[in-house]
Amino acid sequence: MTDLEQFRRATRAWLLENCPPSQRTTVAKQDVVWPGRNQTFPSEDARLWFERMRDKGWTCPTFPAEYGGGGLDEAQEKVLREEMQDLGCRPPVIDQGISMLGPALLEFGNEAQKAYHIPKIVRGELRWCQGYSEPGAGSDLASLQTKCEPFDDHFLVNGSKIWTSYGVESDWIFCLVRTSNEGAKQAGISFLLIDMESPGVKAESIDLISGESEFAQVFFDNVKVPKENLVGEINQGWAVAKGLLKHERKMMAELGTGFAGGDLSLAKIAEQQFGRDAAGQIDQPEIRLAIADYEMNMRAIALTGQRSHEEAQAGQMDRNVPLIMKYVGTTAVQTRDELAMDIQGYRSAGWHDENFSVSELRTARDLLFNKALTIAGGTNEIQLNIIAKRALGLPDAPAPDKEER
């Protein structure tokens, strides 16, 4: 038996012993465990599961053990992921500190920053959010204007960030701020960590068409930030941000395909709605064919994800293939949402009230919520630009200002 096989056995045994049965079911929104200063848990089992994983460092399996992380290599991490998936274990905690800031700090942070922040991320002591976009900037990330002036022992920050996921609920925010107006607009940007309890920070939630308000606008009014909170060199924040964006896009693409694998099968709802004909087929040809197209598309996306993974493992990585995943994944989810509504008609158009089942209500909410998928994390238009430029090598347009997020 190889070491990896041994690791797999041990991991499975540990998971079977330590993951409470209640934590091995599909996770609904209200079941998610978030970290934070004032962390609460949806259930005692959820707390137990979180604490056990945390203590093994498996909230961040690949982070170095010296900072409290799991210290696993990539192959081991994949084994852990596969075993958790196979057993249906929920993620013990969800946080942008884990998925985004942590990896960036490990790459770009100094020793003091790593020593202070990474253990807190692993242990879920702080909840992190991201401050990139600004009102009016949109896809043109580099045009950001939040001003950051250096003083002797601190920076002074003024401005505002928008589309910050869970900005109201978070403890700290990692931000892109403008530290210079000279040269290319990308050249004057720095990457800064800000404690949201600092005087002058205010977060307001943004109401969405789906009725949710997951996003916030965050305001900075003469906020003093200690100088040691600068990550990387001053005016070099763009490099940190670009490294980080890769993580975000990967997450969005997974989010897309993840949502689509939900519990409501289109075939099932179509069968309920239209019944089946003598040949056993869903008795509405247009819908039947549309579902087939959707399922083919999802199957193709999953196989492409698998191929890309296998290529990476075999050292034959085609770096261009992953670029398509966000575009195809998010588009597919939206197609699914529309089909689900078309099949169910009025019954899927409920906003609230007891006339509708939970799954009926979810159909419309999903549709509306998932409209964000093709916009957030770089719009799909920007994704197509990137494919054209990086994967296909098509020439730049002679535009006055060509840098794109």
Binding site: S133, A137, G138, S139, D140, S143, I162, W163, I206, D207, L208, I209, S210, G211, Q284, P285, E286, I287, Q334, E338, M341, D342, G345, Y346, A349, G350, W351, H352, D353, N355, A364, L367, L368, K371, A372, T374, I375, A376, T379, N380, E381, L384, A399, P400, D401, K402, E403, E404
Partner: protein
């Protein structure tokens, strides 16, 4: 000529534009919704429309109607769509009137038509199965789902039909024998489920309808829905163009990006095709043409699909703002999503078009 407006129709369109902008603008929809009210037509607004003659548009001259026709009514509904105005134009002034007109003339029938025209009643309308009627045709038992405007209305005019016969009945919605359950859809409009508990129908409130009544009323409903979808699409399109001309990214107006230009150009082409097909369908209904079913199914498919295309482009091209509740785009989008299901889905109407085309 049938695909362009007459002078009267153009004048009507102008006054509709003016009326909705002044009295039922989008902000009014938002105010009611934010106050957690149901967005329905109130009696005051209805009286204003009555004063404008809109409730009498489809009545024959013999009972003081304007005989303005369905193309004219369609354009009113289109304009209402552009400001998200909730009106009984479709339910009361069109479908209810058409239902009554499908019954033989009688003093009782004419009296009801006059009451609608005068605004003394504001009925909701529904099509239902004949099985709701007791065998003696004198009472109602059972339920109707997703009846539009049923909370704001005082009465219901229902066309109850099976393969062999059709009846139009008029009942008081404030009677204790009918239970109204509010249904809240994403478009925040007035819908209810109705449950009748052996409700007695007044003798002079029950009429035999002609043979094709149910099919015609389904067609009229589909065409009116298509007309509203056209208004919604046009408005989202115009707002999106305006946004593209105003919003800057990467140092230029985003409307100057060619990929977006081509998408909007294609959407424009589809909108123009829809306009032609919609006007043709309304004209076909008005003139009771032989190909009316085909014309209406075509209009509903194209309206559904154009509205979906433009609704999606509208949100996507507004970017992050498109998914906030702050902008109106989302309100239009949600109305579009509901109307796709009203009076037949694209799949149903496409199948019908195929059948009627001998495919």
């Amino acid at each position: 000529m049938s695909l362009v407006f007459t002078e009267e129709q153009s004048l009507l369109q102008e006054s509709a534009l003016e009326y909705f902008a002044q009295h039922l603008p989008t902000s009014r929809f938002r105010d009611i919704r934010d106050a957690k009210g149901v967005v329905s037509c109130d009696a005051g607004a209805w009286q204003q429309m009555v004063d404008l003659g809109w409730s009498a548009m489809l009545l024959p001259a013999s009972i003081d109607g304007l005989e303005f026709g369905l193309l004219g009514m369609g354009l009113l509904v289109t304009e209402a769509g552009k400001t998200l105005a909730a009106t009984p134009l479709s339910g009361a002034a069109t479908l209810s009137v058409e239902a009554l007109l499908s019954c033989a003339e009688s003093p009782a029938r004419n009296q009801l038509l006059r009451e609608i025209a005068e605004g003394t009643t504001m009925p909701a309308f529904a099509i239902g199965p004949a099985s709701l009627l007791a065998s003696d045709l004198k009472s109602l038992d059972g339920g109707l789902e997703f009846v539009a405007e049923a909370r704001g209305a005082d009465s219901l005019i229902a066309l109850l039909a099976d393969d062999s016969a059709a009846r139009v009945v008029v009942v008081d919605l404030n009677s204790p024998e009918v239970q109204r359950t509010a249904v809240n859809l994403i478009d925040w409009r007035d819908y209810a489920h109705l449950q009748f508990d052996n409700m007695v129908i007044a003798e002079d409130h029950s009429f035999g309808a002609n043979e094709g009544a149910a099919a015609r009323l389904e067609s009229v409903g589909a065409a009116m829905t298509a007309a509203e979808l056209f208004g919604l699409s046009q408005e989202v399109f115009d707002r999106t163009i305006a946004y593209l001309c105003e919003r800057e990214q990467f140092g230029r107006k985003i409307g100057s990006f060619q990929a977006l230009q081509h998408r909007m150009a294609k959407a424009y082409a589809q909108l123009q095709l829809l306009k032609s097909v919609l006007y043709d369908a309304l004209t076909a209904l008005e003139q009771q043409r032989d190909d009316v079913d085909l014309a209406v199914s075509h209009a509903k498919v194209l309206a559904n699909d154009t509205a979906q295309l433009i609704g999606n482009e509208g949100i996507q091209l507004h970017g992050g703002m498109g998914i906030t509740d702050e902008l109106d785009i989302g309100l239009f989008y949600k109305r579009i999503r509901v109307l796709r299901s009203a009076y037949g889905s694209s799949a149903q109407h496409r199948a019908n078009f195929a059948k009627l085309s001998g495919l």
